[in-house]
């Protein structure tokens, strides 16, 4: 009995040990699971959105990419992928070439850029990642550009939609020299676009409201991503300048290679300084230009050309009619009054003549 009890006690102790071991193992497994699960947590990243560099043929430039893991609780691994992009319509929205078999674009930076494939970031950690761009001797002048896509390493799941967020940075490199630069003006005129719409419409007759914005379409047929500069003068029907737009491309927008890009500019603008994330940025918005009703001509002089290449010039003129309804109403009333006056005078004259004829009879 004692022995049996002793054996039972021994069994109980063994079982207890086993239970303890299982519990410890379970906790360990759970910890590993939680760890891997945590590793697959969603990430928030902060990056510099764009970088513009000038690199001469035969030279290289070393610089740094900034990346910050915003999640203060979870470490993350991020893959750095160079992806080509093209334009997406008339706007400044890039279209990443993410298809597996997407051919390399003629303006791709892929052959010239060197950067690490993967980086690790601790919770809340920010890093500067060194990278370099080398342009070989004899490389033609022009623009070369791609995007650096920061892909957090994917998590896992079953029966699920795994979601991932990848911010990207556009990198533009200008290689100075004699480049092929050609932009064709496709349209220039008054432009109406509603807030939050991608596209608006060109127009020359304004009835409901004053023209606030001009726009022009440039087709880039060269090998440089062009940022034209220049001015626009608006003159009234008598040739007197009533508005002057000093900078016809205030946001320094680019027309990518092969793109037909729309550039928009306010006739009269107000500039606000917006402070955000430690940076002050000037934001321009259109306001009522205070034009009187009438016919106006806008004369635009645009210039483009990279350093060392010929300066190209585009000149264009457009006519804008601003005839608000109240003005049309006033004109109609004046014309009606004039017609009435002529009618009355005519009636009087005819009456006088009839009287004279009657008198003669």
């Amino acid at each position: 009995m004692y022995n049996t009890a002793s054996v039972n006690n021994q069994k109980w102790r063994d079982m207890k040990k086993l239970l303890q071991s299982v519990t410890v193992l379970s906790l360990f497994v759970a910890a590993v699971f939680v760890g891997s699960h945590t590793n697959a947590q969603s990430t928030g990243l902060g990056v510099n959105p764009r970088k513009d560099l000038t690199v001469y043929p035969g030279k290289s430039v070393s610089d740094q990419l900034y990346i910050s893991n915003l999640n203060k609780n979870v470490a993350t691994k991020v893959n750095l992928n160079v992806v080509d992009f093209k334009s997406n319509g008339e706007t400044g929205t890039p279209a990443l070439q993410l298809q597996e078999n997407a051919p390399q674009t003629p303006w791709s930076l892929k052959p010239f850029i060197t950067l690490p494939k993967t980086i690790e970031l601790g919770p809340g950690e920010s890093k500067y990642i060194p990278f370099s761009i080398r342009i070989p001797e004899g490389q033609g002048a022009g623009s070369y550009y791609s995007a650096i896509k920061y892909d957090p390493q994917p998590g896992e799941g079953s029966d699920t939609v795994v979601i991932s967020g990848a911010p990207s940075q556009l990198v533009f490199v200008t290689v100075p020299g004699k480049a092929t630069e050609l932009m064709n003006l496709k349209k220039f005129g008054g432009y109406d676009i509603k807030d939050n719409q991608e596209n608006g419409s060109f127009k020359s007759l304004y009835i409901g409201s004053q023209p606030q914005k001009l726009a022009y379409l440039l087709q880039n047929a060269g090998n440089v991503a062009e940022s034209p500069s220049g001015s626009i003068q608006i003159k009234n029907i008598f040739g007197k300048q009533v508005k002057f737009i000093k900078n016809a491309n205030p946001k320094e927008n680019l027309a990518l290679i092969d793109q037909t890009r729309r550039f928009e500019v306010c006739i009269e603008s107000e500039t606000k300084e917006v402070k955000q994330d430690g940076r002050t940025t000037k934001v321009e918005s259109c306001k009522n230009p205070g034009l009187l009703p009438g016919i106006y001509r806008a004369h635009m002089s645009l210039f483009y050309g990279i350093n060392g290449s010929n300066t190209q010039e585009i000149n264009a003129t457009t006519t804008i009619w601003y005839l608000p309804l109240w003005f049309i109403g006033v004109i109609l009333v004046v014309l009606a009054a004039l017609a009435f006056a002529i009618y009355k005078i005519r009636a009087k004259l005819v009456g006088t003549k009839t009287h004279k004829r009657k008198g003669k009879k």
Binding site: P49, R50, Y66, T91, G92, L98, V162, D277
Partner: protein
């Protein structure tokens, strides 16, 4: 008075002739106005400028090249450095620019020039007047001081004259443009930043507190629409704004797939469908319109249509066109399966890519 009365009588007796005279007058005025407005003078051909170091504030050399268009006796070439290219407008000196110490170091094509007059933003080249030819001419100026700042556009207004001092009637004219662009970006203030996060749930404006990197539909059956949602948040202080693209595949299990909706379509039970939108829906009741102060961040059509879903890899789903404060978008996903959908574990990875504009 009598004359006026006669004229008014003429209106009555000769209305057609009067109308024709008025119309011809209006058309003639319009034509004369158009022609005079569009008149152009002769510009230099193949004009350009090379700056050896384009960094703002550097002292470097410039090479200005041009082709004289009009064969004529030219005695001077006037080069005026301004902040705008239009000759009829006042010439303001680009901030920081100084060419008063510039020297003419080399010349080719039309030669024999020396500097006749020089100020902070003006150089007049002079020579005994002689006939110009069609060759490309270039002039190198040493010791030129660039305007300050990065991305500072400036222009050289050029005119040729028969006189030797840059005065009198111009023969050819034209402007060249240049921009101060650093070889390596100079950081004059905090560089722009793009903040972006994607999660099942985002709990703060700074993307520091988030939950989940997947969304689950549960077990799929043909008589029910399954739906779920995730959140996307972005902000930038860059003037070009951002765009958000969605990429991935439809839900698959090995070689079996649930068809993606490729045009905006409502949810239909019993039909194979996988799609998403970023709108506030009531059929099924899921999703929300964008929230947050970054009101210029917007969902792009057709992903903004309530109760209509689609999924095309590579589509842009949201954009902003300027500096944009925090904006949170809710992505809603739906899936429907037909009765004959082969059983399996269906899954996919959806990636939202956020890019700056240009």
């Amino acid at each position: 008075m009598l004359q006026k009365i006669e004229w008014l009588r003429a209106l009555k007796t000769k209305p057609k002739r009067t109308a024709i005279v008025v119309m011809v007058g209006v058309i003639a005025f319009g034509l004369v106005w158009s022609v005079t407005q569009q008149a152009d003078a002769v510009r230099f051909q193949n004009r350009g400028m090379y700056i050896n170091s384009a960094r703002g504030g550097d002292t470097t050399y410039y090479v200005i090249s041009l082709q004289y268009t009009t064969p004529a006796n030219v005695g001077s070439l006037r080069l005026e450095f301004c902040d705008n290219p239009i000759p009829s407008l006042p010439c303001n000196i680009p901030p920081g620019l100084d060419v008063s110490s510039g020297t003419l170091a080399a010349q080719s094509g039309e030669t024999g020039f020396s500097i006749g007059e020089q100020t902070q933003n003006l150089i007049v080249l002079t020579r005994p007047p002689s006939m110009t030819g069609p060759a490309l001419s270039s002039y190198r100026f040493d010791n030129m001081h660039n305007p300050d700042g990065t991305h500072q556009d400036f222009y050289v207004r050029m005119t040729s004259h028969a006189s030797t001092d840059g005065s009198g009637p111009l023969i050819d004219y034209g402007s060249v443009t240049a921009t101060t662009t650093p070889e390596i970006e100079l950081t004059t203030q905090v560089p722009p930043i793009l903040i972006f996060c994607v999660a099942q749930q985002i709990n703060d404006d700074d993307c520091t507190d988030m939950q989940g990197n997947f969304v689950n539909f549960g077990e799929l059956t043909p008589n029910q629409t399954f739906y779920t949602s995730s959140e996307i948040q972005a902000r930038t202080n860059a003037q070009y704004g951002y765009s958000i693209a969605v990429t991935g595949t439809t839900m698959t299990s090995g070689v079996r797939a649930i068809p993606a909706i490729t045009t905006p379509t409502e949810s239909f039970q019993g039909v194979g469908q996988f799609g998403l939108n970023l709108a506030d829906n009531n059929s099924p009741d899921i999703g929300a319109n964008p929230t947050g102060p970054g009101i210029n961040g917007n969902v792009v059509a057709p992903y903004n249509e309530s109760n209509k879903f689609l999924f095309n890899s590579g589509d842009i789903v949201a954009t902003s066109d300027n500096v944009t404060r925090t904006r949170k978008y809710t992505a809603s996903y739906i899936v429907n399966v037909p009765a004959d959908q082969p059983p399996g574990v269906y899954s996919t990875t959806i990636t939202y890519t956020c890019l700056a504009g240009f």
